[in-house]
């Protein structure tokens, strides 16, 4: 078996043994409460320079409140996994939090292109599938996985290798495992220990959490452990992977959480307009820096009435909450 071709780009090097040691030495294995505020969770578990993976499906069930807290705390030099993400990447770049992006798919406008041209942010090209697959590898505890795509294209060149399959002798691509420093996952329900339930089709909340060193869960609702134990099949992320449980109703705002509330279209248009008009600072001031929490932001800038409308507009409950 030989390496037939390989990418020469920059990627986070896999090191499963170092990852294991981190897990051994830092994870809480006992049943202890991890409930804390978004401010405390981000302060304790997101460090400058961290690789941050987050799970969302464009505007669906993303950890938007945690993202804003990262902006609020002015985290710097983050490297993010931009798989199937909408305005989050733009916001983090506009706020100066991010200088490296692994790209699957993200909404790109002038904020990111200008930052790229100015050399403030570097992009590394993969695909959605390659990024979710790299996180799958990370969540399996192995340094790489074979896959049957990427080959032959320009996205091969970042960090894929083409090797001779030791069994068939045919060429096959392999990608490096990704074990982010931090995972941010927004869930429907979670107990105080971190046993988390996620309803609906999802990008990859489970692999994102399991592959990471530090895991912050934000949740629409905290349920009792007794409730969790009554339906163990619903638990998608086990408590021992979780470092912080942050109770944030409307934590996916301005996006949607299926079954609970619709996305706030006016907000999305406001953020789009802010980018086009070069007014991202004003946008961030209003939605992030002028408030101290998601709760205060909702109270000040959205209002209970509008939140009630967003809830009422989400008419589909089937499969989620009934």
């Amino acid at each position: 078996m030989t390496v037939l071709a390989e990418g020469t780009g920059t990627f986070l090097q896999p090191d499963p043994d170092a990852h294991r040691r981190y897990i051994r030495d830092n994870k809480e294995k006992g049943l202890v409460s991890k409930v804390m505020s978004e401010a405390e969770a981000v302060k304790r578990f997101v460090d400058d320079g961290d690789y941050v993976a987050y799970d969302c499906n464009l505007w669906v069930r993303g950890p938007a409140a945690l993202m804003r807290e990262i902006v609020r705390q002015k985290k710097r030099e983050l490297w993010i996994a931009a798989k199937f993400t909408a305005h989050d990447a733009t916001m983090l770049v506009a706020a100066g939090c991010v200088n490296r992006i692994d790209v699957g798919w993200m909404e790109v406008g002038r904020v990111i292109t200008e930052a790229q041209a100015a050399g403030d942010v570097q992009l590394f090209e993969w695909s959605n599938g390659a990024m979710t697959y790299r996180l799958l590898a990370g969540s399996l505890g192995v340094p790489f996985l074979p896959l049957r795509y990427l080959g032959g294209t320009d996205v091969f060149k970042t960090g894929t290798k083409l090797i001779e399959d030791p069994y068939t002798g045919n060429p096959i691509n392999v990608v490096p495992a990704l074990n982010p420093d931090v995972a941010l996952v927004h869930v429907n329900q979670c107990d105080e220990y971190g046993n988390a339930r996620i309803f609906g089709a999802g990008l990859q909340p489970v692999e994102t959490a399991m592959a990471a060193k530090k895991v912050i869960i934000s949740t629409e609702e905290i349920v009792s452990t007794d409730e969790i134990r009554k339906d163990p099949q619903k638990t998608r992320i086990p408590y021992y992977a979780v470092d912080a449980v942050v109770h944030v109703p409307f934590g996916g705002y301005p996006g949607t959480v299926p079954g609970l509330y619709k996305a706030h279209l006016e907000h999305l248009m406001e953020s789009g307009a802010a980018q086009m008009q070069g007014k991202m600072d004003e946008y961030l001031d209003k939605w992030v820096h002028s408030v101290s929490s998601n709760e205060e932001m909702l109270e000040k800038h959205v209002g209970q009435e509008k939140l009630a409308v967003l809830k009422a507009e989400e008419t589909i409950k089937e499969g989620y909450y009934e």
């Binding site: 499906n57 464009l58 505007w59 669906v60 931009a82 798989k83 199937f84 790209v103 699957g104 798919w105 993200m106 909404e107 790109v108 990111i112 292109t113 790229q116 041209a117 050399g119 090209e125 993969w126 695909s127 959605n128 599938g129 390659a130 979710t132 697959y133 799958l136 896959l147 049957r148 795509y149 990427l150 080959g151 032959g152 294209t153 320009d154 996205v155 091969f156 083409l162 045919n170 060429p171 096959i172 691509n173 609906g200 089709a201 999802g202 990008l203 990859q204 489970v206 692999e207 949607t256 299926p258 079954g259 619709k262 996305a263 279209l265 989400e314 589909i316 089937e318 499969g319 989620y320």
Partner: protein
């Protein structure tokens, strides 16, 4: 007995693509945009049981129509699915050979069906226009048996050399090129659909070949909107313009917000199988 019909370039692309779909095959579509709209049109018009999977792990949903105005990928897009899984899972199913057709949109296509959805411009670091990235297109175009690409007929879209190859067609076109790059055997682009034309690929050379033509367009019209000369089939199929029922369903049911079907307007005068171009808008900047 002539009749005048007006539709957008994208409506033609969507209708032509939808007609290629059948309920006994499985489709893998991007989460929104023209590919999903084409699938929904086919389901509504002639293949109600047609099943498709979406990148977010939704398997065989039954989207309520009229479609929600925005965010088809939210609960509306997953409604009454056979199964809710995740991105890796549907990728595995494609890898196993379950997904017959991938339906994708492309920003640039070359003569071997390779395509770009990352950026256009002279240099990666300073793109003229940057797009979201391949998204799921690389895996869909690699793993599905056949790929249907949807794009507008414009010279800047059919290019000799891609600014960036996000997703594979037949690569350099040589025999076994995909297999040598580690991709599954017997796969590749199958059709490229534009508002004027349908292309397939020559079995030997893997070069793109014009095989269908809108009744209001000529081969020269098509070739004028390409940077390279395609092969041309000896007999060209006639592409019907969007029918009244197709347009009604598309506009009222599948894309009532008009976000996806919008494009440059084309007006033709129909006379039986033939059609005469009455008027067409110029392509919009960046469309």
């Amino acid at each position: 007995m002539t009749e005048t019909r007006t539709f957008t370039d994208m409506e033609q692309i969507i209708c032509t693509s939808a007609r290629l779909m059948h309920a006994d095959k499985l489709y893998f579509t991007a989460i929104g945009g023209p590919p999903l709209v084409a699938v929904l049109l086919a389901k509504t018009l002639h293949a109600p049981n047609l099943a498709y999977v979406v990148e977010d792990g939704t398997i065989a949903p039954q989207v309520q129509l009229p479609a929600p105005m925005f965010l088809i990928e939210a609960s509306g897009g997953s409604y009454r699915a056979a199964s809710w899984t995740d991105m890796n899972t549907v990728g595995f199913h494609a890898g196993l050979g379950y997904l017959d057709y991938g339906i994708l949109a492309a920003v640039q296509v070359d003569e071997y069906g390779n395509f770009n959805s990352t950026f256009v411009g002279p240099a990666y670091e300073r793109p003229e226009r940057r797009f979201g990235g391949p998204g799921g297109a690389n895996e869909i175009a690699s793993l599905c048996w056949r790929t249907i690409l949807m794009t507008r007929q414009q010279g800047r879209k059919f290019v000799k050399k891609l600014d960036f190859m996000s997703s594979p067609g037949f690569l350099d076109g040589s025999a076994g090129a995909r297999e040598r790059a580690g991709l599954p055997a017997d796969t590749g682009p199958w059709r490229v659909v534009t508002e004027m034309a349908v292309f397939d690929f020559d079995e030997e050379s893997h070069r793109i070949r014009l095989m269908g033509l809108a009744p209001w367009a000529t081969v020269d019209d098509v070739v004028a909107e390409m940077e390279f000369e395609p092969l041309v089939a000896s007999t060209l199929e006639n592409i019907e313009v969007p029918g009244e029922e197709e347009l009604a369903v598309l506009r009222a049911q599948v894309d009532p917000s008009g976000r996806t079907v919008r494009g440059r307007w084309i007006t033709v005068e129909l006379d039986g199988e033939s059609a005469r171009l009455v008027e067409q808008e110029a392509p919009a900047e960046g469309a």
